[in-house]
């Protein structure tokens, strides 16, 4: 117990004094996971909307599959991306492995089911009157879609934040495809994994506190948005 207390105090000192290493790891984490979230949202919110607005056989099965993939293991995504972008893999020519871009790709893929699935359920939550009113006013299919998407814009922000939360807190995929290179692909979670194994508990604790704080901020924003 004493060890935890002492580590906590040292960790707070590292944060308050603005330790450059802690700062740069934090910044890098936010940039990488932020990019992954934006990338994933740009592709999979439209994809989720497309699934919602179209009718096709097997739609229900597809939605179920997407929801199942919410909890796809991070290491599995890491493995798939590793095989794909390794030099001997199909996308090896891009030279992406062990770069921040690889981590962005893996995290974007990891959260894609969350973004797609939650987009679909956000749209499902729109009151049917809105669609009916738009229809009665003579709106085209595209206009109806736009109206409904506008209606769920806050819910979509929540979707994006949920994706970001999963991206920034994952470690398995990031460490496999990023390689945890100091000053390049080392993020909050991968640094915690290494530093804990090396016995630098205080440093890990500082990063952990920052990670929790980020998660807290995200959930506060989500809470606010949901009340709008």
């Amino acid at each position: 117990m004493e060890e935890i207390g002492a580590a906590f105090v040292t960790a707070l000192k590292l944060i308050i004094t603005g330790d450059p290493e802690v700062l740069s790891i934090t910044l890098r984490s936010i940039i990488i996971s932020g990019s992954a979230t934006i990338l994933s949202a740009l592709i999979f919110i439209p994809a989720g909307s497309a699934v919602f607005f179209s009718e096709f056989p097997g739609k229900k099965g597809l939605v179920n599959l997407i929801n199942t993939l919410f909890s796809v293991p991070t290491v599995f995504v890491g493995l798939v991306v590793f095989i794909a972008i390794s030099r001997s893999g199909p996308l090896g020519g891009l030279g992406l492995l062990f770069t921040p871009g690889a981590m962005v790709t893996a995290q974007a893929l990891l959260i894609s089911p969350v973004i797609t699935g939650l987009s679909i359920s956000a749209l499902s939550g729109v009151r049917p009157e809105i669609k009916d009113t738009a229809l009665s006013l003579g709106a085209s299919r595209v206009q109806i879609a736009i109206t409904m998407l506008r209606e769920v814009r806050y819910a979509m922000a929540v979707v994006v934040l949920a994706g970001f939360g999963r991206a920034i807190s994952e470690v398995g995929a990031g460490i496999m495809v990023g390689g945890n290179i100091r000053g390049y692909t080392r993020t909050l979670t991968t640094a915690m994994s290494l530093e804990t194994s090396m016995g630098n508990i205080e440093f890990s604790m500082a990063l952990g506190i920052i990670l929790i704080t980020i998660a807290l901020f995200v959930s506060i924003i989500v809470y606010r948005l949901q009340r709008l």
């Binding site: 700062l23 770069t99 921040p100 871009g101 962005v104 100091r182 530093e195 194994s197 090396m198 016995g199």
Partner: protein, 313 residues
């Protein structure tokens, strides 16, 4: 078709943006693994100003956990004006990275597998650049009573005592196909055991599947025995409270080599920089620094420079 091209172009645009912005954002303040020496300011200025080539080295965990790579990295980057990415992995994983073409050069420690790599044409050559020795470490109370034995006799004793009283005597194996793991297997063989039988011999034998540092920490937590390279052991000693119990025996020699990956066999790897790495590690200046590394801090030499020749016990 249109539906597909739009998301795809967005994907590529974003990736491009990321690729462009990353070198800038990686130019943060110097980071330190805790024990290594802070990289020079010049190296960091270089990161901001110039977009330099990148070269990737996969290294055995012991050269990383001791902080040696953190110490050498800025010197190499400055000398050859290049960004050096150091990936720490067990020797087995490092060889896999090299074979797949994901790194340009390896610094590892498993002579048999290194020679096979060169024979297969994947490695250009094998150049030893430093050595030290392995030890068998365990709790200072030494419940199995192996202190001062030969490595082979110590392993026999551990097996016998471990089987009969697994509560008192446990052994933690790296279990990760690393160079240290290979050495452990070699000692079992020399002691007259089949490794297959050792792994099935009971709960006293624990496979960690982790790097050297984490395995030592686990040995401490479980008051167990393990095989470690002396470098990592000394670097972690302060945190561990484990004792070095067996440190003599020809079989305990530990040789670190540098191996450039052959772009003819594995396309896309950077042979020029890999050759620079060989020159760098075997240069008199760096050899001296390797010999001195950690000596003040840990009170003992961590590595013996070997200047490209095969070290002997």
């Amino acid at each position: 078709m249109k539906k597909i091209t739009l998301p795809l172009s967005i994907l590529f645009l974003t990736l491009l943006l990321v690729a462009v912005s990353m070198p800038a954002c990686s130019a943060g303040a110097p980071e330190d693994t805790g024990k290594s020496i802070t990289p020079s300011a010049a190296s960091d200025a270089g990161r901001i100003l110039a977009k330099r080539d990148r070269v990737k080295v996969a290294t055995t965990t012991s050269l990383y956990d001791t902080g040696l790579w953190g110490f050498l990295e800025p010197m190499f980057e400055k000398k050859y004006n290049v960004e050096l990415d150091v990936l720490y992995a067990g020797t087995g994983k490092a060889i896999e990275y090299g074979t797949r073409g994901d790194v340009d050069v390896l610094t590892i420690h498993d002579k048999a597998r290194e020679e096979k790599l060169v024979a297969d044409g994947i490695g250009v050559k094998r150049v030893p650049f430093a050595s030290n020795h392995f030890i068998i470490t365990g709790p200072p109370s030494d419940p199995a009573g192996i202190k001062g034995m030969s490595p082979e006799a110590a392993f026999k004793t551990l097996m016998e005592k471990g089987k009969t009283s697994p509560q008192q005597v446990q052994f933690i194996s790296r279990g990760d196909n690393s160079g240290t793991h290979s050495k452990e297997k070699a000692i079992w063989k020399a002691a007259g055991y089949e490794y297959e039988d050792v792994t099935k011999s009971g709960p006293w034998y624990v496979e960690a599947g982790s790097g050297m540092g984490p395995t030592l920490v686990m040995a401490k937590e479980k008051s167990a025995y393990t095989v470690a390279d002396i470098g990592t052991f000394l670097a972690y000693k302060g945190k561990l409270g484990l004792a070095s119990l067996v440190d003599r025996g020809a079989i305990l020699l530990n040789v670190y080599s540098v191996i450039p990956i052959n772009p003819d066999k594995v396309p896309g790897t950077n042979l020029k920089m890999a050759e620079n790495m060989v020159d760098f590690l075997t240069s008199p200046e760096i050899q001296t620094l390797i010999g001195k590394y950690g000596a003040d801090e840990y009170g003992e030499q961590l590595f013996t420079p070997s200047a490209g020749a095969e070290p002997v016990e």
